[in-house]
């Protein structure tokens, strides 16, 4: 039954990936921003969680309450200061890629400056325990992180589906001009959506902090992972991101089992590469292609 074990571990990881990617895909869907700094901001939240844990022994799952609003505010601020200037550019999407690339460099440099390049991790008690259901074992940290991720994804779905702001966000995703015509202030909505995306990155950072050791340069690999799974699921589709996350997390778990952990990233890189080349709209017919 070893493959069941691998499948379970893959799915648990997939839940966290899905939440990490949902913010990224939301940003693309609403304002066509490919945020290369998404994983760098996840790291910011991870380091905030680390500091809170080291100094106040605050449980990382509780520090979500701090990292999420913090990152929301940072997102709104960054959006309003940086992006309206680019909107006039005829190569808007390309410019946003370069801009967020620059942001990622800044964040990485600042984190390295403050925390140095060594590995850090947050080790609450549950980081070293695990649960057994029959023969299947589940590390507590992954189980908790996965459950919180799903809870947040459901919350995101509720916000998008049933609140006025959520409706405005969905409308802007579908047709920006039409949203403006019916009276949506798209700049405000974009800023809020950017904030929500960043808040999700904040949550992801807090959860990752006790799942994997991290260092500032790590975010490039992560953002490539995240891009792979949202390109697979279809850019701008949150449902697609969840499916993509599950598929790739399970696939990479099997690759790890067969070829060893060093080769597991190849699942993501190859997927990203091949999907972009062969089926840029994603496997499930995205709303928009990159």
């Amino acid at each position: 039954m070893e493959w069941v074990q691998i499948l379970v571990l893959g799915l648990l990881l997939g839940g966290v990936y899905a939440m990490m990617a949902s913010g990224l895909t939301l940003l693309f869907g609403v304002m066509r921003v490919v945020n290369l700094a998404h994983a760098a901001f996840i790291l910011v939240a991870a380091y905030v969680t680390y500091v809170l844990f080291e100094n106040l022994t605050l449980d990382p799952m509780i520090s979500l309450v701090i990292t999420m609003p913090l990152m929301f505010g940072l997102g709104v601020f960054l959006y309003l200061t940086l992006f309206p200037r680019l909107e006039e550019s005829p190569r808007y999407v390309e410019m946003t890629v370069l801009l967020t690339f620059g942001l990622a460099l800044i964040v990485e440099g600042m984190l390295t400056f403050i925390f140095t390049g060594i590995f850090r991790s947050v080790r609450p008690e549950y980081a070293s325990t695990s649960l057994f259901i029959g023969d299947i074992f589940m590390p507590s940290s992954q189980l908790y992180a996965s459950l919180i991720s799903f809870a947040l994804l459901i919350l995101l779905w509720i916000v998008l589906r049933f609140t006025k702001t959520g409706t405005a966000i969905r409308a802007t995703m579908q047709n920006r001009a039409a949203a403006q015509i019916v009276g949506v202030n798209v700049r405000k909505v974009s800023a809020i959506a950017f904030g929500i995306g960043m808040a999700l990155a904040g949550a992801a950072g807090s959860l990752l902090s006790f799942m994997f050791p991290f260092f500032p340069g790590r975010h490039w690999q992560w953002v490539a992972f995240l891009l792979a799974l949202i390109v697979l699921g279809g850019m701008g589709s949150i449902k697609g991101a969840v499916i993509g996350a599950m598929l790739l997390a399970v696939a990479s778990a099997f690759v790890t089992d067969f070829f060893g952990p060093t080769w597991s990233p190849i699942t993501f890189y190859l997927t990203l590469f091949l999907i972009l080349m062969l089926r840029p709209e994603g496997l499930f017919g995205a709303k928009a292609r990159l």
Partner: protein, 246 residues
């Protein structure tokens, strides 16, 4: 007093040239208008400027005697100016009903929203029939009906419609113009832009003739249609230019 005044407005896109070159016109409440003129005269640009999608480089747009320069589209809508652009700009994977409800985005009162929805269904029975269907799956004429119905949701003081008959079969276009007349009968000030000058002018009270970004002539719609000079100079030219472009 005029409902909307456009005074000496200069506007254009990005770093591009001026499309409107000092345009002045005024619109009275309760009258319906059609703006005609050759391709590139600045008809759509005028509507986009009034709707707040484009900032005037010079001049002033006043609505209800209030200066509106630099207002965002949502602020213009809240003031009572509704814009229906050329491409049926709907939310393709939302249902017809959801699209109409989005039209009432600025309405906070839920019961009022429901009331308006019923009113729109009454005015456009076809929309009630299709309410559960995704807007993206409708025909061109039906999509245009949804955009008109959606405009009605907010009960605007003034509605500006850009090329409502574009790409529609003549019979369907006639139905659309009929709906537009109904807008006027509800007391809503209608401003049309129409490539098919004869059809557009037939549906309204007053006509504006635009060329090269400024107002060349205005007068009662039937008078413009009847005036052979205007036909030759501006409306005929539109036809001639279109042939050239092809």
């Amino acid at each position: 007093m005029a409902l909307l005044e456009v005074e000496d407005v200069v506007a254009g896109y990005g770093a591009g040239p001026d499309i409107l070159t000092g345009l002045t016109l005024s619109i009275e409440e309760g009258t319906s208008y059609c703006i005609v003129g050759p391709n590139g005269a600045g008809k759509s640009t005028l509507l986009r400027t009034i709707a707040g999608f484009l900032k005037p480089r010079r001049g002033e747009v006043r609505f209800n005697a209030k200066r509106m320069n630099g207002s965002r589209p949502d602020q213009m809508l809240a003031a009572g100016v509704c814009f229906v652009p050329q491409d049926a700009s709907l939310f393709p994977t939302m249902t017809v009903k959801e699209n109409l409800v989005m039209g009432g985005y600025l309405i906070e009162d839920r019961s009022l929203l429901q009331e308006r929805l019923e009113a729109v269904y009454e005015a456009f029975p076809i929309l009630k029939e299709r309410r559960g269907q995704h807007a993206g799956t409708l025909s061109g004429g039906e999509q245009q009906m949804v955009t008109l119905g959606r405009a009605l949701m907010i009960e605007p003081k003034m509605v500006m419609i850009d090329e409502p008959s574009l790409g529609l079969a003549p019979m369907i276009a006639d139905q659309i113009f009929e709906r537009i007349r109904e807008f006027a009968s509800l007391g809503i000030t209608v401003v049309l832009v129409e490539q098919n000058a004869a059809k557009g002018l037939e549906a309204v009270d007053w006509g504006f003739v635009l060329d090269l970004g400024s107002l060349e002539f205005e007068g009662p719609a039937d008078g413009i249609l009847a005036d052979p000079r205007i036909r030759d100079l501006y409306l005929g030219k539109a036809m001639a230019r279109r042939r050239d472009a092809d």
